[in-house]
Every structure is written in structure tokens, then in C-alpha cells.
Amino acid sequence: MGLDPVQKGVLTLDNAATLDHAAAHGHAHEQSFWRTYIFSLDHKVIGIQYAVTGMLFLLFGFTLMLMMRWQLAYPLGSPIPLIGGLLSEQNAPGGIMLPEFYNQLGAMHGTIMVFLGVVPLAVGGFGNFVVPLQIGAPDMAFPKLNMASYWVYFLGGVTMFASFFVPGGAANSGWTSYAPLSVIATTGQTMWLFGMVFLITSSLLGSINFIVTIVQLRAKGLTFMRLPFFVHAQLVTSFLLLLAFPPLEAAGVLQLMDRLAGTSFFMPSGLVVSGEILVRSGGGSPLLWQHLFWFLAHPEVYVLILPAMGIVAEVLANNTRKPLWGYRVMVLSVIFLGFMSFIVWAHHMFLTGMGTTISAFFQTTTMIISIPSVIILSALFLSLYGGSIRFNTPMLFATAFLPMFGIGGLTGLPLGLAPSDIALHDTYYVIGHFHYVVAPGTIFALFAGVYYWFPKATGRVMNETLGKIHFWGSMVFMNVIFMPMFVQGLVGINRRLWDGGVQYAHAAPWQGLNVMQLYGAAALFLFQIPFIINFFMSIRSGKPVSDNPWDATTLEWSAPSPPPHGNFTTVPTVYRGPYEYSVPGASKDFSPQTEPDTGGGAPEPAPAHAH
């Protein structure tokens, strides 16, 4: 590359060559290998980098959980098979897990799944790959920030991963890192905090980029109410990331000060640790950490779920061959949900005894926020009604999302009310609740997205048979793992216990469930293998398909598969809404957004695309 694009005065995409661009020419002219595949500025390559890294972290986080499930199933000291011998003597002598190691796995499973797995895949992966295509943009607004966002995320991932190898191992105070425990924890916690600072910086860069892209780079005629629901979901998600993450960054800085400079932001006076009074200036507030943490972490729940709902909306409309039911209401609901998510955080803190007035406030807001969620889910359900549904793999995952997320959402209601939450909060019930939301909920939607947009990224479709094996296996065993948690929780088995509560009389009769969950988890792992094979096999030898294999209406399908750099061969103009399926009188059952209205209606005037 000759001149720096910045110095040319305009940002051209010549320095953002894509995978296929290089492939089509047989060599990357003016582009080094590094610029094309590693430090790429192209949103599609960055999206794929994000998605693949995110999926690898999901797999890694899953293996951590498998080890934990073994420990819970056989709490009385049974060596972990296969990988037990690889673990160090400090963690698992003779392959038998120590409590300290269990705590590390618990904290890191949560951290990895949320911050390194699901969010990067949902926002970094799908957001990056799909959003610019769906709005008819040549790329993201700030390609260099986009690249920086991925690499800072990667650095955060490396930091988190490396923390397993420092003295004392990884962070072991839970993914919530509650003070004062986290302040006196081993070095791994410092690594965790630095890792979080990287991840927060990455999502900050990403979210600014998404908002600017969606606001500024929409194609001609693409008004806000013509945006696909997925784009709306990503826009709201970006605002949540932009505004909710900085308080956690602030909290992280304060905790770093507590750990490294000996301050007492989160350390109360007169704290006794292991029988000795801690010498500290004191006067800090452990509750402050919880407030700052949940100020992020509740909106984070919606960061996990909104892109998933967006994906489901796309796949559902496409495969029912009819418009989304109540698109306008869904859009308003998702915006309202975004606002509300900032004032519900303390429903995670009813157990702290923060007072009934505050509790009453947060119970009320929590009940209110359930309304837009229920509206969106109901609209998606109603969209099925009267459709001629095609049950391909993406649709199977998207359909399964609805009842699975429904279970997760409805079991959350008792947790939003202090009286029932106080009884259930520290039990497996909570684990069951949020895993239904995120695992068979969000992750199923993400799988739907992978199968759905794979042809756009590669020009080939994934294998349907392997896809269906993957779906049915995952569907069954997800429920085998998570459904018993409601039982365990309701009988009062505490979460975060290294031995699964086996020393308690009320828990002992239910120990068999842990064994069942272990084999369920192992089977779930096995059923991911068809997906992994399918994914890599289909890149090279999947069935080649046209640019619009699903007969879809949104803009990304009017671009070539895979899209070249700059995405579109001609600048797209939008004439209609996103889900015009089975329009009466139309010659085919889908009317792409780029298709001018033949009914004589003039296209809505829109700001000119400056070219």
C-alpha cells in the first residue's frame, strides 16, 4: 500500500482487501498477507475473526465446566478422566480437583462465557459481519478502530487465559469479583482486572463504531423504520455497551487501587481475615463494588440477549415467509428495554439487605422491564402463526430459542421479587434461570445465525444432516443439564459449592441429578463435534449456492457471496421495509428491499448518498 489512507484525505477501501479479494486475484496485490488476514481493516474479516475467536473461547469455557461437573458428580475424590493427569499438582493432585481450583474454574467459566465468548460472537462477530451489509454500507465507519477493537479484545483474552499460570492460579472470586474477597485474592485477580480493562476498551471502540455506522452509513432510502430488527437490536446493544461498561471500568480501577496501592475503596474497617485484623485505612464499602458491577452487568444481560433476538427475528421472518408480527412495536420495545435496563441493576442485590425502599423501587422497575421482553417474545411467537414454515437448521435453532428463552425469562420473575429472591438467590435455581436465557437461549440463536449467514460469508451452505444432528442433540442435552437445576434450587442446594452440597442432608438425596447433569454435559460436548466438522468442512466443500440462497429480502443478500471489499457491486437504494414476504400480487414470495415498488407508489424521499 502506497500512501497512508489518512494522508489521501479520504478513506478508501483499497487497504481493506477481503479474503475473497485476495483469493480472486490469486495473490494479494498491494496487500500483504498480514493486512489481508491478520490485521485486516475489512469488517467482514474482522467479524469472522471475532466469531471464530469467540467460538473457541466458548469451547474452552465449556471444557472448564465439564471439569466442574465431574467434580460435582463425584465430589468424594475421583480423578478427572482424560485430562485429569494434565492438571498441575497445585490444582488437582492425582487428577482430583482441589476447592481452590474449583473456584478458579467457576470464576473463569463465567468470565469467559460472557465477556470472551457470547458477546464477542454476538456483537463483534455477527454485528461486524452483518450490520454494514444490512444497511448497505461499504464498511464500518472507522475501519482502524474496528481492527483495534478486535486486537484489544484478543489481548484481553490472552490476559485472562494467562492468568491460569500465575502463582495461585486464575481469579477465584466468582465472575462478579465481589469485594472484599476479591481484594485479598491471589494475583490472578489482578490479571482479571487488567483483562477486563482490555475487554472494556475493546467494546467501547466497537460500540462507538457500530452507532456511528448505523446512524451515518445507511443506504439511500433506508430510514430507521426500514432497518431490519437485527440492526435495531445491535444499535441498542451498542448504546448499552457504551454507557454501562465505563462504570465497571471505574470499579476496576478502584479495585486495582485497592489491590496494588493499598487503598480501601471496597474494604470496610476492622476486617478480620484468617483470624488476623487486616491493617488497612478502612472506611470503604463492599456494597459500592456490587452497585458498580451490576450497573454494568445488568445491561450486559441485554447485551447477551438483544443480538440473539435480532438474529431470531431475521431467521424467523425469512423461514415463515411472512412479515414479522408487530415490527414497529418490537422496535419500540427494544428501545424502551434499553432505557429500562439501566435502572434495574440492584435486583441482583436483594440479599445485601439494602433496605425495603430501594428494594421496592428495583422490584417495580424489574416488573416493568419484563413487559417489553414479553412483547418481543410474543411478537416472535405470533410471527409463526399462519406461516408456511421451512424447517431448515437455522430455523430449528431459531424456533427452539422461543420456548427456551421463555423458560429462562419466566423463571426469572420470582428472582425479580425480593421475598422469593431471598430464598432462591444463592441456589442452583438462579444458575438454571440465567443459563436458560443464555445457553439454549442466546447460544441457540447464535448457532441459528452461523447456519443462516454462513452462505453469505463463504458462498457455500452448511450440511443440513449434520446441522440437524447438532440441533437435536444440543436441544435434548441442554435441557438434561439445566432443567434439574430448578429442582436443585427449589430444594435449597447452594451454588458455588465445591462438593455440590453433598455434606448437607437436604442435598444428599438429589446427588443423582449431578451425575445425570455430568453425562448430559458430556453428551452435549459430543454433539458439538458435528458442528465443528460441518463448519470447517463446509468452508471448502459445502454445496455452492447463489447470492440469496434463502430467498431473503434484506440488503446483505443483494451483495455477492462472499462480498468483495466495498461489499456491493452497485450502491444499493432501498425502496421498502425489511420483511416484505408473500406480498399479495407480487410475482414471488419475497420482495427484496432493493426492489422498486411496481405498484406505482413513489419511493420515500431520502437523503442522498454523497457520491
Binding site: 461499504p138 465507519a141 452507532i211 451515518q216 457504551l242 465505563p246 487503598t263 475503596f265 470503604g284 450502491v571
Partner: protein
């Protein structure tokens, strides 16, 4: 296809990409410092006793520093205005002055820190000192960040003026918005920490 609205504003939003981007970034910065100020309030309200800032910190020195930072905001605006009037030589002077004033601010802050350390007043001594060092330290990092950006636009980055003057002017505007924000944070920090 080139990325649109890099230089010119999109008609319906009235903004170019970078300007919307910096405003969003500043919104997130408001949340960052907002969380820290909230923490300050919470810790102070919960504390049985809290020292007055003027008993511990050196108010005249900080007043001088406030003046320095406000002056640097003025020179920043003048730098932008010079570019608008196509006076590149004057721009160089003003942006240089902005960076220099940044150094003065850091020098004075360094003197204050050094004085505290000399008297063994560290962040670990009390919650007041902890929040003082954390807030001003984080603010200082922001000042340094702004100085690096402005230093770049004073030096190698200013070459862009000769090829794309409009884009360069936009950049100074965006950088200026950030610099004013950093200034504004100090305007809040000064009374909260030194006077109350």
C-alpha cells in the same frame, strides 16, 4: 466504494462520522467519571468524618493549575479558529501552546504529588487521599492522552493540512472537543476535592 461522510456532514444528521464518534466517546467518559464521582459521594456520605480538602491540599497551586488548563482550552479553540481562517502558521503556534500548557499542568501536578509523597501521604493512608489520587491520576492520564494527540497534530499529523485541509480542520475540532472535556472534568474535580 469509499466510506461516506468522512469529511462532509451527512445531510439528515448534520454530522460527519468523527464528530458523532467523539460525542459518543465523551458520553462514555461522562459515565466513567460519573461513576467515580458517585463513588466519592457514597464513600463520603458513609464516612463518620471526612476532612476538608483545603486542610490537606494546596488550594493556591491548584487554582493556578485550573487557570493553566482553562487557558489551554482557549488556545485550543484559537488553534481551530486559525485553521478555519486558513492561517496555518498561527495554528502551529496555538496548538503548540496547548501542548506546552499541558506540560505546565503536569509539572504542577507532579510537584503536588511529590509534596504529598514527601510527607508520606499515600493513597493507602485514608479514603480521602485514595479518592484524590485516583481521580486526579485518571484525569492526568486523560491530559497525557490529549497531549499526545495534540502533539501529533502539531508535528507529523499536521502534514494532512497540505493535502486535505478540511479533514484536518475537522480533526482539530474533534481533538478540541476531547480537550475541552478533559478541562471540564478538572473544573468539577477542583471544587469537589480542594474546596468542599
Amino acid at each position: 466504494m469509499d466510506i461516506p461522510y468522512v469529511v462532509e456532514a451527512r445531510p439528515d444528521t448534520g454530522l460527519n462520522n468523527a464528530k458523532l464518534g467523539i460525542w459518543l466517546f465523551l458520553a462514555s467518559e461522562v459515565m466513567l467519571f460519573g461513576a467515580l464521582f458517585s463513588s466519592y459521594v457514597l464513600l463520603r456520605v458513609a464516612a463518620p468524618e471526612w476532612p476538608h480538602g483545603y486542610e490537606i491540599l494546596h488550594v493556591p497551586v491548584a487554582t493556578f493549575n485550573t487557570a493553566v488548563l482553562i487557558t489551554s482550552s482557549i488556545t485550543m479553540v484559537m488553534a481551530f479558529a486559525s485553521l478555519k481562517m486558513k492561517d496555518f502558521a498561527q495554528y502551529k503556534k496555538f496548538i503548540g501552546a496547548t501542548v506546552l500548557l499541558g506540560f505546565v499542568f503536569l509539572g504542577v501536578k507532579g510537584y503536588e504529588y511529590g509534596d504529598k509523597f514527601l510527607h508520606h501521604e499515600y493513597p493507602s493512608e485514608s479514603t480521602f487521599l485514595a479518592i484524590y489520587f485516583t481521580l486526579t491520576g485518571l484525569h492526568m492520564l486523560h491530559v497525557i492522552g490529549g497531549m499526545i494527540v495534540n502533539g501529533y497534530f502539531w508535528g507529523p499529523g499536521s502534514k494532512l493540512w497540505h493535502t486535505a485541509p478540511e479533514q484536518f480542520t475537522n480533526r482539530i475540532e474533534v481533538s478540541g472537543l476531547y480537550w475541552h472535556f478533559v478541562d471540564l472534568v478538572w473544573i468539577f474535580l477542583f471544587p469537589v476535592l480542594y474546596l468542599l
